[in-house]
Amino acid sequence: MLVKFYLNDTLVSYDVRPDEYLSETLRSHGIKSVKVGCNESTCGSCTLLVEGKPVMSCSVLTASIENKHVTTVEGIQEEAAKIAYHFAEEGADQCGFCNVGYALVVYSLKKTIKNPTDEQIVDYIVGNLCRCSGLQSQLNAIKAYLKEE
């Protein structure tokens, strides 16, 4: 079936199976920045934004996003670089597999909640697993990014 949606503000039209998930659709169209860590709605690596909200793309049927706006990390390159700066400052970056999901979640957090509390930040990022870092460094990096004007 043909599904039309906005990929980083560009209207695209992909021919997909009715049971195809968004992570699969995007990767098969060359958007390899979408990382699939568990493919079962848990680890958060595949997180991207649909209508500005972070969702796990391994669990979104592509058919369900007709006419919606999808943001991958390609759509927030400058913000991703700023987030990367703070991750590096805190020593929070390692293998990078979860980082793209973090970039999108953290960007969305900054857009959604002004001056979030630590509890709100943790609540917002807890659905993104990371096995490399000590997690605290990530949290500190994210806090520094959120403070940026």
């Binding site: 049971d19 709605s41 848990t42 909200k53 972070p54 669990s59 058919a63 917002y124 807890v126 659905g127």
Partner: protein, 260 residues
């Protein structure tokens, strides 16, 4: 998981007719963990065009569309005024935001999952489910309903009132199902006690509630009554004995909290 057709329903009647057309047709809610279940479907029926993703209120109740996401439910101003937001406490404990933006309140209820936090969190309150074709039943009636209900959940009605609520999910880490979950509330001066994930689906403890609502003041005793009345079992996550111990402590602590 295999699906032959993705069907965007144009009306509730349209969705209902499609659902009747084949036993292998199903409504798709949030779609989480669907592929883990590994089933095949003829048609998946999408309700997203039907405006079921709104939260509204009347003088007496809050009406939550079945397709409202868990995240929108917990963020809702309207819900925040309902028992100081207590019916949403449980939702906040479900996985992460990237999950709750997809998961719907309706999907969480319809599955009657034994591990549901959402159901435990709502059960202390006066919750009525509205179905299509026109039919209403309380959340508790639905939990006890035998067999599969051949209807589409349209909305969840939560009756307004005075009081406060408590919810506790005992878990290993944040991305976990509950080992046991406990919801306690005081609704218009009436105590409500619910224990879920025992590991069976949530249930009210009428013995505890009867004791408390007839002047019983000993919360530890109420907690004892609750664990006597409700059944508990072992599974891989915890023993029956541990679940009982946890339920006793948190029913008591919940009652202490809501009675303040």
């Amino acid at each position: 998981m295999k699906v032959n057709e993705y069907y965007r329903a144009s009306s509730l009647e349209d969705a209902y007719q499609k659902l009747q057309a084949s036993p292998k047709n199903a409504i798709v809610a949030g779609g989480l963990w669907m592929k883990k279940m590994g089933q095949s479907y003829d048609s998946l029926i999408d309700l997203s065009k039907l405006g079921l993703d709104k939260i509204s209120e009347t003088k007496d109740e809050v009406i939550v569309g079945s397709m409202v996401s868990q995240r929108d439910f917990e963020d809702s101003k309207i819900v925040s005024f309902l028992f100081a937001g207590a019916p949403a406490f449980a939702v906040r404990e479900v996985m992460g935001v990237n999950f709750r933006n997809l998961a719907t309140i309706g999907g969480s209820i319809m599955g009657r999952y034994p591990f549901s936090d959402v159901i435990t969190g709502l059960l202390p309150y006066d919750v009525t489910l509205e179905f299509y074709p026109a039919q209403k039943m309380s959340l508790e009636e639905y939990l006890n309903y035998k067999g599969k209900l051949n209807a589409i959940l349209v909305a969840i009605h939560i009756k307004k009132g005075e009081g406060k609520g408590f919810f506790k999910k005992v878990k290993t880490t944040a991305l976990d199902f509950p080992i046991v979950n406990i919801a306690v509330a005081k609704v218009n001066k009436e105590y409500r006690v619910v224990v879920g994930a025992r590991p069976m689906v949530a249930a009210r403890s009428y013995k505890a509630m009867e004791y408390l609502n007839n002047g019983g003041k000993d919360f530890a005793k109420a907690a004892e009554l609750a664990v006597e009345e409700l059944s508990f079992m072992d599974n891989k996550d915890a023993s029956k004995e541990y679940r009982v111990d946890l339920a006793k402590v948190y029913v008591r602590r919940g009652l202490e909290e809501v009675s303040k």
